[in-house]
Symmetry: C2
Subunit: 199 residues, 2 copies
DNA sequence: ATGTTACTATAACGATCGGTATGTTATTTG
DNA sequence: CAAATAACATACCGATCGTTATAGTAACAT
């Protein structure tokens, strides 16, 4: 009995999920959430609990709606197929929506309020500068014959940065050094070498 | 002329850098900064400008103090040496300090106030669960002979997660899909295969 | 010694944060 | 038609945020 809800909880949760995806947990304010959902604050509390609980529900929604490629991948025939399937769909998902790029899980910690945008740009620029230095070094390596003609210095530099970022995230999550060293070794296994090197 | 500073700006900047490293930009409050430096708020403003400028100086300090292995690496003979040197030192740096694990750049965006710790744990757990599923799948692959005996399912799963996290960070930074797809392809190049597969 | 300068320390500023008390309105139950 | 129930909207709560005004103090120049 009592009055009926005037909004659809599922639709609101979708909007909430998008906001958290774009701005992260800390960066999403209730002003953002009420604006995105069109639902007043107390109604959000009554429907989802506090902010932490709401984030949990958004996380579950993200898994349901966007991470269905994971079980798909796990059912494939070979481990390489599994890895390839996950990577392909992750790249696609992370670049599909211009308004919320990246992964919900990572952005949950990584993103922030719009006022912090200059800071993010500062860090992105610093990162890009490091990548540029490495790329230029690899271009030289290619010119010197250290890297084969088939190698792409830009991709190699980007790949190295990717692994570095991933390692940083996992270090923050508490991974042991030996584990991360094994990851680094794995990353180096694919490193291209010049065909003969005798010239 | 006028009164002298009663604190050492360089020492204070070191403390500031550690706070930003541990808590990120948004997560570091002036209360944290005054406590870590032992310097009152207006003195920090007079010495470093506002919070954004202070973060910029801390970033520069991080480069000077902790990223000296980058120019070292760039001077090495081969591209593989460059990559190996960077990876080795990055792993070491990211796991050296228990009070601020990970990379300053990534943590600058990724970390947050202590009150958000339950959220980070929620995301870390979700991430760990995904990794577990993949690892178990790879263990099966090894049992089935899809992966060679020399392969380590745990390392492979962790490596895959590392690349996924790195891709997520770079997608957030605005990388194009084609670029990230090339990175994913590079990651797959090192995938181990069973020796003969004919059994 | 005196005035000027630049620091220190306290305390306050407005804004925004997550969270709620409160009164109103709509719906169901008796 | 009441009485009860639950969602609605407004407005507010205390706390914390980054920032700064203000008053006191130490070191210089004259």
């Amino acid at each position: 009995m009592g009055r009926h809800r005037e909004f659809d909880v599922d639709t609101a949760l979708d909007a909430v999920t998008c906001v958290f995806w774009r701005k992260g947990y800390e960066g999403a304010s209730y002003s953002d959430l009420t604006e995105a959902t069109g639902v007043e604050r107390p109604a959000l509390y009554s429907a989802f609990g506090n902010k932490e609980a709401m984030f949990g529900k958004a996380l579950a929604r993200y898994y349901d709606r966007y991470l269905d490629y994971i079980p798909e991948a796990l059912a494939l025939a070979t481990s390489r197929d599994v890895a390839a399937h996950i990577l392909k769909h992750a790249v696609d998902l992370n670049t599909r929506f211009t308004e919320h790029r990246g992964c919900f899980l990572i952005n949950g910690m990584l993103a922030g309020p719009d006022t912090a945008e200059p800071i993010r740009q500062m860090l992105i620029d610093a990162r890009a500068d490091g990548e540029r230095q490495i790329r230029e070094r690899f271009e030289r390596a290619k010119a010197e014959g250290d890297l084969p003609e088939s190698a792409d210095p830009a991709t190699l530099a980007m790949f190295l940065m990717t692994v570095l970022h991933g390692i940083a995230v996992q270090a923050k999550a508490g991974f042991a050094r030996e584990a991360l060293a094994a990851v680094a070794a794995q990353a180096l296994l694919s490193w291209p070498t010049a065909p003969t090197r005798t010239s």
